[in-house]
């Protein structure tokens, strides 16, 4: 399969890229890892006039921990994240998620910024960012703004990014100790898009009860979303099986899956519950280990 024709530029600096987005407003599409974009171009399901390759822009793939939390450059690959010592030490949820995206080649080149900007309704990172209450930094010629992940994924393939903006960074706040988080993904076959993906994060209070919870779901609605009902079912409760089941039931009720080759709606809802429970069990175990 052969893409339609397009123009290609590879700016050397961020401001150049941003100016191009202004100049070619609506025509231009950012090329990062390419593993989401190129198959669509080849299937001719998308035909942007210009690709702006951001590979030469310095400083877009740093992974650093700051007082605000973990800052991950938009061009950081899934593998860079998966293998980063800081991530491994403090963010097991990210390790879970990064290690299960696509296959090794996809993880070598696919980027967190690309995944988030592309906003495939079944992609993994959005659920993680939602569960962790992360925020997303967008740059344009007029400066930058930070959008909470919970307001970023608007619809299928649609985000809060304006045509003149570039996703440069995601910021994942460090959860107060003791906390635990995990990603549970159900897939038909290694490397597939999720049938359902659940990112769960729990913080425990001094009384051992859940003091804060984040649940992000993917593949079971038009866009990844926060299962706020499930979160409410967790906070203030003991981190036990009954609580997890209640959260799972709430999350299933909140999900809006469609029928496709991964299964009918009823199955997907049931899998939401099942995978929410599994993610919460792991998250709770990890949280207990921090006590």
């Amino acid at each position: 399969m052969i893409p339609a024709q397009f123009d290609y530029v590879r700016p050397a600096a961020l401001h150049e890229a941003l100016q191009i987005l202004v100049d070619r407003q609506g025509d231009a599409k950012i090329l990062s890892g390419g593993y989401s974009l190129l198959p669509l171009l080849k299937l001719r399901l998308a035909s942007p006039a210009l690709l702006v390759d951001i590979r030469d822009i310095d400083g877009l793939d740093d992974i650093v921990e700051t007082t605000n939390g973990l800052r991950i450059g938009g061009r950081a690959t899934h593998r860079q994240i998966h293998e980063n010592p800081v991530v491994i030490a403090g963010y097991p949820l990210l390790v879970d998620a990064a290690g299960g995206i696509g296959d090794p080649q996809v993880r070598n080149w696919g980027t967190i910024g690309g995944s988030c900007a592309h906003a495939d309704p079944s992609s993994d990172w959005p659920a993680v960012l939602i569960a962790t209450n992360a925020s997303i930094v967008l740059h344009s010629v007029s400066g930058s703004r930070t959008v909470p992940a919970r307001g970023f994924f608007l619809d299928t393939f649609q985000t809060a990014i304006e045509p003149t903006e570039l996703l440069t960074e995601v910021i994942i706040p460090r959860a107060p100790r003791p906390s635990g988080a995990a990603y549970a993904k159900l897939e038909r076959r290694a490397g597939d898009f999720a049938t359902v993906g659940v990112a769960a994060q729990l913080s425990l209070g001094a009384d051992g009860r859940i003091s804060a919870a984040g649940i992000g779901l993917t593949a079971v609605a038009e866009a990844p979303f926060a299962a706020t009902g499930a979160e409410a079912a967790l906070v203030g409760h003991e981190p036990n099986e009954a609580t997890f089941q209640a959260a799972g039931i709430a999350a299933a009720a909140e999900s809006r899956p469609g029928t496709d080759s991964h299964g009918p709606i009823e199955y997907k809802r049931a899998m939401v519950k099942e995978m929410v429970v599994r993610a919460l069990r792991s998250a709770a175990t990890r949280a207990q280990a921090q006590r």
């Binding site: 399969m1 052969i2 339609a4 024709q5 299937l43 001719r44 296959d103 159900l186 038909r188 076959r189 290694a190 490397g191 597939d192 898009f193 049938t195 080759s261 991964h262 299964g263 009918p264 009823e266 199955y267 049931a270 899998m271 099942e274 995978m275 599994r278």
Partner: protein, 793 residues
């Protein structure tokens, strides 16, 4: 003639590398260096590209084709439509099953993604742009995707071209066995079990898609067609018949093939379009399918709706089998079955069991789909047959409370019953079914697994054990019964021994990765004593290779392998005469051992095959023709019947419905073995292609006829992660009629594996009241059952 003694240990030295040696493959050095020569690797001077406009509709009238925008694109040279082909009478072509198939439609498209017109351009990129620029005006028509609806009396007729006397969607009816006797036996049976089993449509999805380069040289009047074909000679003949080109001026050349599995037997419209395009523009024209075209428009396998009933005594002795089947062939019957067998060899459905009464009937039906019933590492409906009988035997065992292994043992055809005549007319050549099953049971530790299963079940865990004891039927075939479009299904080998004792052999079958360059050399090494390293095997070029029907249905070893052995023996016969001349001895006084003739009683008086070869050109006896070569066209006296017993252990995740194959033991018997390493590899691959449709792969259609698995994102080939670590074992029961006692093996595991997996999954759920689950046994399907039974986690 037959030398079918048991050859469990090699008779030749490792240096010679005859039968039984795991000789490393002679073809591999080019593949591991990336120097294989696949069709898309080939570039000819001045070559153009062809790309195809395909229908978005599964059924529609074409009101017009507007190619004007496409023709404005620089580099787009021509757009070929059905109307263009109609002028030359090439808009329809015959299928191998005697039906006809559109090359390009003139008025109606019959399936989604059907070829509508072709764009010829100077590069593959420009050709793709041309395809996107062609505007076709369609008027959608109603669509039938369900063969049962197609058979309803008021269903619209999909193929009015068949004439007013065939104003329905019924293609043919075929039956086998004795209906009345089977009915009587069935009614008298103490136990009757019946089931509706659907074997879904699947696609071979070889990693290399199909393609060709047609190269018309007008001055020489020569058409060279480089293509991905498992049957180049048959293609040449069909092309000659369809195009009117003289057959000697057509050369079909198949290079390395990146997997075939039966999908590269049929003639696809793309090949014909490339030929027409090359004839039109006078330059070589390349057509390469992309993956989505391959998954949507090539031929498909299975799509069999089987109603099966098994009768037995209370004690579990099978008495009768009755089968009624609807076969969805899509809009044309393009199957590659032998002419007399429109339902393939489906009547091998009595399997490995000894009983007297069986009746099988099949009805072929048209629907708005691409051709079905073709191939997926088994084209002749054996997979469907084995699945049905092995599922039913398991259901019977569970119903009467007998262990499925025990029930099989009690019903097997016994070794002393061979040759065994089945109630549907086959004569099984040889077999030892109890030995294979016993070996499999031992290898997997069956009794312990059954204990473990009971313990797990008590804890609510779902574990199942499934057995399949299959009988395969391969090596088509004896010419009295087997032909395709009238061409008898013999196969061939031609051997030339050069003066220096090096050998060139050409065979009529075409490798798709099975290792013919190695195994056929091993047959010659076995028969003549030339080391494998000195033997070169060629195939795939119709200008040089002897005529053969090609490689499919596991027929290479049973047919061309036999031809090779016989041709080698003809050379040995002549060598004996030359040796007698050289040794000044009587032919009767010579004995053949280890690649040389020696005088009986005087082993130091001998001539090696290499010395004899040299003499054949330098010192041959007076009155004898010089040279040392032979050709054989082998017409097998019977098919061969490989068999095996497979045992599968599965665990089911109650929360998600996911099935994990924990262990899989496969004991195969394919008679004498040419190369154990390659046989093992064939079984590993076959098992994986049995595993895939059991749990993952399915080509399904929505009600509009859209193929819903048009990429590898939705058509789920298993990766290394899911695929079990196969455990293989062997028994050897030689074929009594095959010259080297061998049987085919390529398809055995694909045929035998699915029921073992299905039986294991049903076994895990039987106590919940589950009797059958159609493949693919997807998580959503299993979960729905668990949910219904109230046992989800």
């Amino acid at each position: 003639m037959a030398d079918t003694g048991l050859k469990e240990t090699p008779q030749t030295t490792e240096a010679v590398g005859g039968m039984g040696h795991s000789v490393k493959r002679k073809e591999d050095p080019r593949f591991i260096r990336g120097q294989g020569e696949y069709i898309d690797d080939l570039v000819l001077p001045g070559m153009l590209w062809l790309d195809i406009v395909r229908s978005p509709y599964a059924h529609a009238t074409i009101k017009g084709i507007d190619a004007s925008e496409a023709l404005k694109i620089p580099g787009v040279l021509a757009v070929i439509t059905g109307a263009d082909l109609e002028k030359a009478g090439l808009h329809w072509m015959p299928t191998l099953a005697g039906d006809k198939q559109m090359v390009l439609p003139t008025d109606t498209v019959m399936y989604q993604s059907q070829e509508v017109c072709a764009v010829v351009a100077t590069s593959r990129y420009i050709a793709a742009d041309g395809v996107a620029a062609v505007l076709v005006d369609y008027e959608p028509l109603p669509v039938i995707v369900d063969p049962f609806k197609a058979l309803e009396p008021d269903a619209f007729v999909l193929r009015p071209d068949r004439g007013p006397d065939k104003a329905n969607n019924h293609i043919w009816h075929w039956e086998s066995g004795d209906r009345a006797a089977t009915d009587t036996a069935m009614e008298a049976s103490e136990v009757r079990v019946s089931e509706d089993i659907y074997i879904p449509r699947i696609h071979v999805a070889s990693i290399e898609t199909c393609g060709c380069i047609a190269d018309w040289n007008a001055t020489r009047g020569q058409m060279t067609l480089h293509m991905t074909s498992q049957a180049p000679h048959a293609i040449r003949t069909v092309l000659a018949l369809v195009s009117g080109l003289p057959e000697q001026n057509i050369r079909v050349k198949t290079h390395d093939i990146g997997g075939g599995f039966g999908g590269k037997v049929p003639v696809y419209p793309g090949y014909v379009l490339a030929v027409v395009a090359s004839l039109t523009v006078g330059k070589p024209v390349k057509w390469i399918e992309d993956r989505s075209e391959n998954l949507q428009a090539d031929s498909f396998a299975r799509d069999y709706h089987i109603h099966v009933e098994l009768g037995a005594t209370k004690a579990g002795k099978i008495t009768s089998l009755k089968v009624k089947t609807v076969a969805d062939h899509g809009y044309t019957d393009a199957a590659a079955d032998p002419s007399k067998f429109p339902a393939g060899l489906f009547n091998v459905i009595t399997g490995s069991y000894d009983f007297d009464n069986a009746f099988v009937e099949v009805d072929g039906v048209y629907t708005n789909k691409p051709p079905g019933g073709v191939a997926y590492r088994c084209s002749f409906r054996v997979t469907e047959a084995v699945h049905a009988i092995e599922r039913m035997v398991d259901i019977l065992a569970h119903d009467i409370g007998k262990d499925p292994a025990q029930l099989r043992m009690e019903n097997f055809i016994q070794p002393d019953q061979f040759p065994y005549k089945t109630p549907t007319g086959w004569s099984y050549d040889s077999g030892d079914y109890p030995r294979a099953l016993k070996k499999a049971l031992d290898m997997i530790g069956y009794d312990d697994l059954r204990k473990e299963q009971l313990e797990k079940r008590a804890k609510g865990e779902l574990m199942g054990i499934g057995i399949s004891s299959f009988t395969e039927i391969v090596g088509a075939g004896p010419s009295h019964d087997f032909d395709i479009l009238g061409i008898k299904m013999f196969d061939s080998c031609e051997i030339r021994v050069h003066p220096t004792g090096k050998v060139l052999a050409r065979i009529g079958v075409q490798t798709q990765g099975q290792g013919h360059e190695t195994t056929f050399a091993q047959i010659i090494a076995e028969e003549l004593g030339f080391p494998v390293a000195d033997i070169k095997i060629e195939y795939g070029d119709t200008d040089t290779a002897p005529y053969g029907l090609g490689t499919y249905a596991s027929r290479s070893t049973p047919v061309a392998g036999a031809a090779t052995a016989i041709a080698a023996r003809k050379i040995r016969d002549k060598s004996r005469k030359i040796a007698a001349h050289l040794l000044e001895a009587s032919e009767d006084d010579l004995e053949w051992t280890n690649g040389k003739f020696s005088v009986k009683g005087s082993p130091d008086k001998s001539k090696t095959i290499q010395e004899i070869a040299f003499a054949a050109y330098t010192n041959h006896p007076a009155g004898m023709e010089a040279g040392l070569e032979a050709v054989d066209y082998y017409d097998p006296p019977n098919l061969t019947f490989p068999f095996g017993s497979y045992i599968c252990v599965v665990d089911i995740d109650r929360g998600t419905g996911q099935v994990t194959v924990r262990r899989f033991v496969a004991v195969d018997d394919c008679g004498n073995i040419i190369n154990p390493m390659i046989v093992d590899g064939q079984i590993h691959g076959g098992l994986t292609m049995g595993f895939a449709p059991s749990l993952y792969e399915e080509i399904s259609y929505d009600e509009l006829g859209n193929n819903l698995a048009g990429t590898f994102m939705d058509y789920l080939l298993p990766t290394a992660v899911e695929t079990p670590a196969w455990e293989t074992g062997k028994t050897i029961t030689p074929s009594p009629h095959h010259p080297i006692g061998a049987k085919g093996v390529g398809e055995s595991a694909t045929v035998g594996a699915p029921p073992a997996i299905a039986n294991a999954v049903v076994d895990a759920l039987w106590h919940l009241g589950v009797r059958n689950i159609d493949i693919p046994m997807t998580p959503q399907k299993i979960w729905a059952i668990l949910n219904e039974k109230g046992v989800t986690a």
